[in-house]
Symmetry: C2
Subunit: 891 residues, 2 copies
């Protein structure tokens, strides 16, 4: 055998996760450490890739290895697949390298057919169980493998139930199930034009193929895209002998987390259902019981579970998410994996595991995903606000959200794309609803528990979620839900709190988030480790204060145009722009000067000596002007209705001026330092405002460290001229006030040419700040405004681009320019300070990249500062580990 | 003496042109070879730069060296500056490294004052001459050094003339001139609040300073910008003892070219004035006599001049432009320089000098400026057209032009900026009119000869010019000119032919240019030398035929969108764009297919096997749509006037669709291959049209070599996907027709990212064509449409950018990307073909750059092909000479 495509659970070795997938590797690992795992084998991801390479054909080699392994399994269990008297039943589950909950498909009870069902009935002395299991198999196989909509089976079952006058499935007898089985087989025949396959080996290979196929279904591709998982990894398939949680009241199935995945509390957490199979818990159809009650119902099993959880956490040194089944009082562990958790839980677990000496601080820092932290830094419901609760469910994923109610994932997706905020309300969710959960601010379900599909997915995304809110009576047909007498229609606004499970009518005020003690501690550890600065982008004193609160080391980008945009200033700004002469323009600028100066004074006072990078006016002037189309419509109307009016004349004049400012590609037009070159009086006013503010604040005994940044330089001569302007005005103010200023002059590197000629530019610059938003636009030739709506999404969806380059820095292209810019810049000016102030400054992979290039700081929005501090620490730790060639595996 | 800032004419050595300037170096050279040059000395360009470095102060060191040299001059001439009985008079002239005719200022007769004029009168026994010379000196010094408008002097002179009832200056007596002198001195006193300086040394240093200052006057800066002369070179100053062409009828002054600068004919060519000073010829105030008549008037002098010309041409191995003066029958050579010439003359001279064995072919190729050739390739007046001549003057610079008459340089400049074509008509031109000559299509003067200011400047620019057309009676006040009974007002259209000197009323049809035999020969020599291909950008069979005629080796850029723009196709194109479904769109595309196919068939047949690079659709779709503003105005009007009309509804629908296509930065939006990615059916149609056309033309036995080019690629995956599309369709057509196609698939490199990741992209490409227009836009972040109107001109004017990067490739920035692209591309795909198809493909410096990078070809508009062939040959020759370390000096 040249390639080993199949491994028995006790045959594989550690470190084979790439081949066995996460689930398979864990099953093998658990088997090795002696846990009660039902025996089985894993078909490797290599077999999956071979399947795709062979244009979706399972090779004879793989087939024969599967059959050989099946034989081993049969020998070990002393049962035989398809044997009428002693049948082996197996589960078939996918298991990719990265855990992809709900994405891939599972088939249980495989091996059931018209003969083996009888044997099972006899063997277990439980005909009802046997026929129930058989119908479950037909339904699952029919849905997953044969692609028949579940709806047909559910409808059929409902009909029979109604016919018999039953309220729930538990009332169905063995005979009833036989009737259901026949009906289900008809559904299969009708939908596939073939009888339900009776040959268990045919069942097995069809299912393996279905698992392989599901690797490339739409949901899986969407999930991979959301989580940046490469498409070439493939999935493994796990074949495991069945154990049954549905063999009566001494059986059951459940899910346990070794710690609370929502809060992080170190206490066994989970749910179970008596007399049920595994899928019942996750699917959220029946609402399960909390794990604590198992202690009373099955004390031995509970204790065994507690011990196993401890063993697994000790072994994996991380919080585990465990699936278990109790078959007639005996505990089996079906699966363990690193448990998904909220940001809050991730932080608490990491911090507590350090206290428990399970790991050190550096390891703890690596265990928290910076991307996740943002969810802790969003607004929450104002606890002071008097409000009345409409309903309450399980607090499945924390966070508060407000939005219009929608009842359908497609609708949620559509409205969200139109810029609306929506809350998805469903009886339960399935993997088909993922795009709706992604699009919605939050999800609410009336059924299902804390480990239901909606809960798991929402927590993974850091989105608020409430589950099992059964007081909600949802009417999908009429698109409304009722709670008591209150009816809420699609489109009405509700507010939810995922941390308490509460639902409110209307919009409720939110308050700013605060950092928990554990979060603060973790960030202090991060600051101890990190070797790259973190600053914030802040344009006003409020943002500046927030930035300091969140631990920013300064302001990396203070955009002065937002100061121009203020409603009370716009008329002055407009008359400045419309000035016919420089003298006229200076008059308007004289009016703006004290306003700008006051802005700067407030920010300087707030920042108390931390450096502040101030970017001079950047956007094209027409952004401050009235809308051209509106003017054109007004003028056209007035020409008909009042052709002699003064109003017409005035609007015509204004329209003419607005047209003069119009540009075909404003992003590449008269903006940035080009404004300063053509209308130096505008920059003069801004520079004067900065230095006068500086002297006023210095007189109060406060240190001020401005770093004046010239935007959109593409040739060193632009910077040279603007630098002279800054120096001239600074000297003027210093002479006037008798103060000595300490400040820097630098530039944004945001055109390819600036990066390519950084050696020349660095000779005139004290610092470079890479403006990677604009640099991405010019390097790709993408206008972000146009690209995102018109083709970028298609590019990402169809894998033309791995990621949206405006979200994660394009290292191959834009990154090369940044690298080049740093290298050339430091070559001619070794004292050059370098940083990044594009949106990428808050994104973990981009931070790693910036750290590796030797940048001094990253700058991001204040709310991303904590996450950036953590990412900065991780970059440092990873790079150091890489250097000492001890790069660990990240799960 | 540490630095030698001053050199006597016989003291300097060859190769000191950088220090002595062109004029100074030539004076020294002529002195060395024994020509009759009035003695003198040159103050170096280093002294000029020292002057600017010292914030416009002449250093004591320079001053003392000047005085020492003056002493040497006094000794040699046996005269003394300021000596009342034996005064030395000198001329002071600027002389930069690059000849800048009319740009810098000259002062003659320096040394004249109230005392020396008397000495001169006695010495020459010609009081009239002496006083005339003195008044000339006051006038010139007053104007050039003291900055008094010439108008004051001219007006004063005119008053006195009228008072006395004289018709011309020659009637003024010595006494009259004395009166003029007193009046001129009053003008000086009134304008400068100081008396006219009587101290000749003060006169001298003030004049030297004025020459230095004139290096940075507006005209000089404009000229340097037009001719790409760096500003740091500085000017030298030549001090030369005066000789006098105005000492009577046995004296005179003139200008001679060793060959005809207009046609290139090898025959002495020039003009002279009897009893005049040099400035009279150039200024164009008196119309001089042709040089041939000198043979009769002063046979000895004429023969001496002929011999001198021969000597100079032999010495410099190039056509010379000589200034001479005859003082009382004795010939003096005042200046020689390489003569400016028309393109036609440049070619003929180069070709004939090879025949005369003065130089070899390679040298001849270097002697013709490729930039100049374009003037030979523009339209000329249709000789078949029956027309009546309005007037005729001297054919001062060849070429034909049509435009509105303007009488003022400012007006010409203004109208030209508004996109109008104008012809500047002036009595004469002065350096103050340069911007008008630049702006106008052609210049006509009623006074002045073939070497007048207008003629020299126009020839240098390759613009048509007619001089000395004295039948034109120009009335500047009423803005009209009259010829006999005909009056032509400002704004009326005339047509002129600079090759014949004819002026016509109205517009006259033009015909396509042809290449002269000499031109053809020169280009054949160029083709023998050049090692880089030249292709043409051509979108239709006419351009393709022109390209072949002008010697293009193929089509480097065939833009398919121009085929879409055809008026008869636009409705179909629009309905294609407006399609709501892919099916609808395909219907419109099916209609376009045969049209595109026919276009390609015609081009393929024309090109007869030469390669044709076809670029698939590139511009954003809204370029094909109706104007949004017009629609908006229509809709607004209809809403008031016919709110219920169908027309309103239709226009509203159209407006909505046009809005959907609208983009904020269309240059960076949905265009190029992004169109092909989002609407593959459009590219499918184009590709099908190409291959079906190919098979049809191949069936006629004609070879077809299409090179299909995918535009605006920024990521290799875009090219990969489009490449697959091309291959799929090509295979389909090959299978259908049974033909085997030979074709290439490549891409434009026109985004920085494409250049930065060229190694990846080259793996999917057979060729790269650098689209340096768009690459310049994205690298600088300049939208050409916006930049050129709003700030680029300012950048070039104020030296922020040396040249407009859309005209000459920016080697520091864009060039780095091209270099990188070629290097990376050839690294992964050594068979990669590379070329350039931006406008730079026809510009000589850019061609040199492309050749040095190892590009296989350049592509430019058909009319620039001849010039590109020459530039390509020059690149090869220069690079080879550089390699053999024998890089020559280019004058």
């Amino acid at each position: 055998m040249e390639n080993n495509f199949v491994f028995m659970f006790d045959q594989s070795e550690s470190g084979m996760k790439e081949l066995l997938g996460g689930k398979g590797a864990n099953l093998a690992e658990m088997t090795r450490i002696g846990l009660p795992v039902p025996y089985g084998f894993t078909i490797t991801t290599a077999a999956c890739n071979a399947y795709y390479d062979a244009e979706k054909v399972i090779s004879p080699e793989v087939e024969s290895q599967v059959l050989q392994s099946l034989q081993v399994l049969e020998e070990k269990t002393d049962k035989k697949l398809g044997n009428p008297t002693n049948p082996l039943l197996v589960s078939v589950r996918s298991g990719a390298v990265h855990s992809m909950p709900g994405m891939m498909d599972t088939v249980l009870n495989l091996g059931m057919n018209d003969e083996t069902v009888k044997g099972m009935a006899e063997l277990t002395n439980n005909a009802r169980f046997a026929y129930d299991s058989y119908r479950r198999f037909i339904q699952m196989f029919g849905n997953v493998v044969l692609d028949i909509e579940n709806y047909f089976f559910e409808q059929q079952l409902e009909e029979i139930r109604e016919e018999k006058g039953y309220q729930s499935d538990t009332e169905l007898t063995a005979e009833d199930w036989k009737e259901v089985i026949e009906a289900f087989k008809s559904i299969v025949l009708k939908n596939t034009k073939r009888s339900f396959p009776q040959d268990p080996k045919e069942q097995l290979f069809l299912t393996i193929q279905a698992v392989f196929d599901s690797w490339n279904n739409k949901r899986a591709i969407l999930y991979r895209r959301l989580h940046q998982i490469p498409g070439h990894l493939g999935t493994a398939v796990n074949i495991q002998s069945m154990v049954f949680g549905n063999m009566g009241e001494d059986s059951g199935t459940g899910v346990a987390f070794t710690r609370n995945p929502s809060t992080g509390e170190s206490k066994l957490y989970g749910e179970y259902l008596i007399n049920a199979q595994g899928e019942d818990v996750v699917a959220g159809i029946r609402t399960p019981q909390p794990i604590a009650t198992l202690k009373d119902e099955m004390p031995d099993v509970y204790q065994q579970l507690v011990n196993t959880c401890q063993l697994l956490e000790d072994h994996y040194k991380d919080m585990q998410d465990i699936e278990f089944t109790v078959e007639r009082g005996k505990l089996f562990i079906l699966q363990t994996r690193t448990g998904k958790r909220t940001a809050q839980a991730a932080i608490r677990i990491a911090v507590e595991m350090v206290k428990e000496k399970i790991m050190d601080q550096r390891e703890a820092l690596l265990r928290v995903d910076p991307d996740q932290l943002n969810q802790l830094l969003h607004h929450r419901i104002d606890p002071e606000y008097k409000r009345e609760k409409l309903a309450a469910g399980l607090p499945a994923s924390p966070g508060a959200a407000t939005g219009q109610v929608v009842f359908d994932a497609d609708e949620a997706d559509k409205l969200s794309k139109e810029g609306k905020k929506v809350i998805l309300v469903r009886p339960e969710t399935t993997p088909d609803d993922i795009h709706g959960i992604v699009a919605a601010q939050a999800t609410v379900t009336s059924r299902g528990g804390m480990t239901s599909h909606a809960a798991v997915v929402a927590r993974g995304m850091g989105k608020a979620c409430i589950c099992g809110c059964d007081s909600l009576k949802i009417h999908l047909d009429s698109k409304q839900f009722a709670v008591g007498d209150t009816t809420v229609n699609q489109g009405e606004i509700i507010t939810i709190d995922g941390s308490t499970g509460e639902i409110f009518l209307g919009e409720i005020p939110m308050i700013e988030p605060e950092l928990s003690d554990e979060f603060q501690l973790l960030l202090r550890w991060a600051d101890e480790e990190r070797k790259i600065g973190v600053r914030a982008n802040a344009d006003n004193p409020t943002d500046a204060a927030k930035a300091l609160e969140f631990g920013a080391g300064g302001i990396g980008l203070c955009r002065t145009e937002h100061m121009f945009m203020d409603a009370s200033r716009i008329p002055t700004v407009q008359s400045m722009i419309l000035s016919e002469t420089t003298t006229e323009r200076k008059e308007s600028l004289d009016q703006l000067l004290p306003m700008q100066q006051q802005d700067f004074e407030q920010i300087f006072e707030t920042m108390q000596g931390h450096p502040i990078t101030i970017r001079l006016l950047d956007p094209p002037l027409h952004e401050f002007m009235p809308d051209k189309e509106e003017l054109l419509v007004d003028v056209t109307k007035l020409q008909i209705t009042s052709p002699d009016s003064n109003e017409l004349q005035e609007k015509q004049t204004l329209l003419r001026k607005v047209r003069l400012l119009e540009e075909s590609n404003p992003m590449l037009g008269l903006r940035g330092c080009r404004l300063g070159m053509i209308h130096p009086e505008i920059y003069e006013m801004q520079i004067l405002a900065i230095f006068q503010a500086m002297s006023n604040v210095m007189k109060k005994g406060i240190t001020v460290k401005p770093e004046i940044m010239i935007p959109l330089v593409s040739h060193v001569n632009e910077l040279k001229e603007m630098r002279e302007l800054v120096i001239r005005i600074s000297q003027h103010v210093q002479t006037e006030t008798g103060l000595a200023f300490d400040y820097l002059i630098g530039t944004m590197i945001e055109t390819p040419r600036a990066a390519l000629t950084a050696d020349q530019i660095a000779e005139e610059a004290d610092f470079f700040s890479f403006g990677t938003n604009d640099l991405t636009q010019t390097t790709f030739g993408f206008s972000r405004d146009d690209a995102e709506g018109k083709f970028l999404q298609h590019y990402v969806d169809s894998d033309v681009l791995k990621r949206n380059p405006f979200v994660s820095l394009d290292q191959d292209g834009v990154g090369k320019l940044v690298e080049n810019g740093v290298k050339l810049g430091k070559a001619t000016n070794p004292a050059l300070k370098t940083g990044i102030c594009g949106e990428h400054g808050g994104e973990k992979e981009s931070i790693q990249f910036c750290f590796d290039l030797g940048l001094e700081y990253v700058s991001c929005s204040p709310f991303r500062v904590p996450s950036a501090r953590l990412a900065a620490a991780q970059s440092t730790i990873r790079s150091e580990r890489k250097k000492s060639r001890k790069e660990p595996q990240y799960s």
